[in-house]
Point group: C2
Chain length 241, copies 2
DNA sequence: ACCTGAACACCGTTCAAGT
DNA sequence: ACCTGAACACCGTTCAAGT
């Protein structure tokens, strides 16, 4: 037996941070955040719970690594060569879809504000704002508006999926929310009554994009104001003064 | 006064859900979310942990009640008679300030999407969008953009304050985040490098308002487009086709 | 009715002991 | 070096027993 085949053999069975993180992702996806315990993880990996601590410092590091793996893959798939506005939409959708598929990763984003997942998202958006020539004074505001919007949606998606793992009836959940809304006095809560019906049947993803475009329109106004990159499309150019 | 007489004094006041919730808020504010245990709560109330369950179903109900108490007070303080745009800013600031003072309440918002705190915020924003005559088709988008932005900030504030209770050095925390950002390759992460310096010294509250105004500007563009409420100031009406 | 506090079924984490 | 699994110090929650 060669050294190589010994190593290959050992590598297939040996515990490693990678194998632990992949097992954690599988549990998080299948059972939800509450399902991930060191005991469950040890059972799945056919080892003792203490063995995991040889490769991973604690549960925080495990969650961080799992979330960064998911978000990293999602961000890698974003085409770097798109037009900046389309690129921002692509980054936002990559985050949205990753969190739709792995809601626990949405909650994790908030817990690791300097982690690689967050940095990739911020640069993915902000780098494209630079390419759009958003004026320096507005860069921070624009980036923060976009980031916070995306994080807000991420947090809501994570919360909506809390408890019920994977594919459980989202429409029924939103239906129940809408019903609790409409229990209130229509005179005192007109908006809530007006939009309740749309809550259950609306397309989350399309809704997410619509809100994003609204913010991009606000940023477009800043950009126009500096006369650097007039916005094309349905908005007419500014009238002359 | 002896410890025993203090205990007797506290026990003289009967337990009630209100007293339990107020004690929970005090612990959450003082020790953070990890500090709130039924044992700590029972000690503070000079009772047994089981007694609390007579008034409160479980920890979820306790957290929901505590969060709703905080957010309810914050929203009550918002003047109902303001001009709609100013009113939306006032609602957003009320949420921001409440969560700045009670970060745990920010995390809680996500966990109770049909709770009274969330409904008050949604109606507080959406009712004013109705007053602004935002066209029906855009109402949902505009409300969702504003809400998600506010929630995103709430979640970040909650995360930033995690662990370090109350007044611990926020600037130092953001400084550390900025340092981790700037460890990366400046060529690959130009935006992150550009804004890192502003992260530690910027005014969170002013920043929050700037992002909000950006979104309001985007909504203003929608409102203009429907010719219902032309926005005054620098933006001109649409050109004819 | 309301309260007590021990008991139960979990956790994350540690660590002496093994290979 | 890497792994085992019992042990420790917690939790939320329950419940027989008290007032």
């Amino acid at each position: 037996m060669t050294i190589d085949s010994l190593r290959a053999d050992k590598r297939a069975k040996a515990l490693s941070k990678d194998r632990i993180v992949e097992a954690a992702i599988a549990i998080l996806d299948g059972e939800g955040e509450a399902g991930l315990t060191f005991r469950a993880l040890a059972t799945r990996l056919a080892t003792g719970s203490g063995a995991i601590y040889w490769h991973v410092a604690d549960k925080t590091e495990l969650m961080t690594a799992a979330s960064n793996a998911i978000m990293g893959r999602a961000m890698e798939a974003v085409d770097a060569e798109m037009e900046p506005r389309a690129g921002i939409r692509a980054v936002a959708l990559a985050v949205f879809d990753a969190i739709d598929a792995h809601p626990w990763a949405g909650a994790q984003l908030f817990r690791d504000p300097a982690g690689s997942a967050m940095v990739e998202i911020i640069e993915g958006i902000g780098g494209r704002l630079l390419a759009l020539n958003v004026p320096g004074a507005a860069l921070f505001d624009a980036g923060s508006a976009l980031l916070n919007y995306i994080l807000g949606v991420a947090g809501q998606n994570a919360a909506n999926a809390r408890g019920h793992p994977a594919e459980v009836d989202r429409a029924a959940f939103l239906q129940a929310v809408a019903e609790r809304w409409t229990e209130r006095d229509p005179a005192a809560y007109p908006f809530v009554h007006r939009v309740a019906a749309r809550l259950a049947d609306h397309d989350d993803r399309a809704q997410f994009l619509a809100g994003l475009d609204l913010i991009l329109a606000g940023i477009g106004a800043l950009t126009e104001a500096s006369d650097v990159l007039p916005r094309s499309g349905r908005a007419a150019p500014r009238a002359e003064r």
